[in-house]
Symmetry: C2
Subunit: 209 residues, 2 copies
């Protein structure tokens, strides 16, 4: 049986984004935020996600300016770092995921936490002015908030905090929103994950659709 | 402010899976399917996903037997291949993603399709008896179905077909279910994606929770 389907990548994107804009309730977003929201809905395949998005004032402009200035992107999982489209990054930005570094198991034992959380200790040299992208582990987001309670810890420029799941995801994102140690973007509740997080980074990195 | 949260990875999994089992409607699944469904819901952070899952009869046992016999896992995206937990694989199985191979752009031009679809042409040497994991591109799933219309094309042992999105995702999965060139697992409609696909592979690969 012959299959009839769209095989032009640009047309697939255009049709997808048009469908999302026809169906989703995007009225409350600024134009910058709207483009990010559309890509996040696209990655999730889920109209309705928009109701759960929260942007700090100026998040998109702040994060984009940081990337244009060469900020590294710090990721909590390889699924996040691998998904970021390098061609969209404005300054050949470094994309860093430390979870699989050999010292992480010992760090996790020392800090009595998960490997995902302990891996953030290795972010310290890159943290200042960075864009953080947490798309998997609630414990990583909690650990970041703990690191940033120390006033001497370098500050990221922006935090995309979208861990997913049933234990700690909602709580860690509520804590991020309450503390706001930097402008942030989050998905309320259980929803989140690497694909949604990657979509946010890719949307912020370039205004090209 | 001190944060109080679960930092024990095994406890996080156990609590998550218990919550899912308390909330989701899993009665229609076999025990094998239920474990896979729970992990897919976990990755999506979305109770209700279970209503959209379809398993061919014997899919889990067939795919696990293939992996135990050393089958490679063929992935349409690096976000899929990177997410698969190597420690869960029963035979040190190869995990292959060909999207970024240098010949893919020329293949896409020759086949007049997306790079995601054309990359499957490079799967042919590994396709026989493999486990296919498509978690991103509807065009990749359509291209696989087209390849398998040729009776001389080697058959995979099982197909996990969970592309996501607004153009072709629903249609490609409906086509997979209609054709069933091998036992398959799919998510109906727009939902899908790399995290859900990875969760299915990780659940099938090992009965350990």
């Amino acid at each position: 049986m012959p299959y009839h389907y769209q095989t032009d990548g640009a047309a697939i994107y255009a049709q997808s984004f048009a469908t999302i804009r026809a169906e989703a309730d995007l009225a409350r977003f600024t134009p910058d935020e709207e483009r990010v929201a559309v890509r996040m809905i696209h990655a999730a395949g889920l109209v309705g996600l928009e109701a759960h998005l929260r942007f700090s004032l100026g998040l998109v402009a702040t994060a984009r300016a940081a990337l244009e200035a060469g900020a590294p992107i710090l990721c909590d999982a390889r699924m996040v770092s691998e998904g970021i489209t390098r061609a969209r990054l404005p300054a050949g930005n470094a994309v860093i995921a430390t979870l699989h570094e050999p010292e992480v198991p010992a760090l996790a034992a020392r800090h009595k936490t998960t490997r995902s959380a302990a891996a953030l200790e290795l972010w310290r040299p890159w943290l200042k002015g960075s864009v953080v992208a947490i798309g998997n582990a609630p414990t990583a987001l909690f650990h970041l908030l703990e690191m940033l309670e120390d006033a001497t810890c370098p500050r990221p420029a922006a935090i995309i905090g979208c861990p997913v799941g049933f234990v700690g995801a909602r709580e860690s994102k509520d804590a991020l929103w309450a503390a706001q140690p930097a402008p942030c973007l989050m998905v309320e509740g259980r929803l989140g994950g690497s694909a949604i997080t990657v979509a946010a980074v890719n949307a912020i990195a370039s205004s090209a659709e």
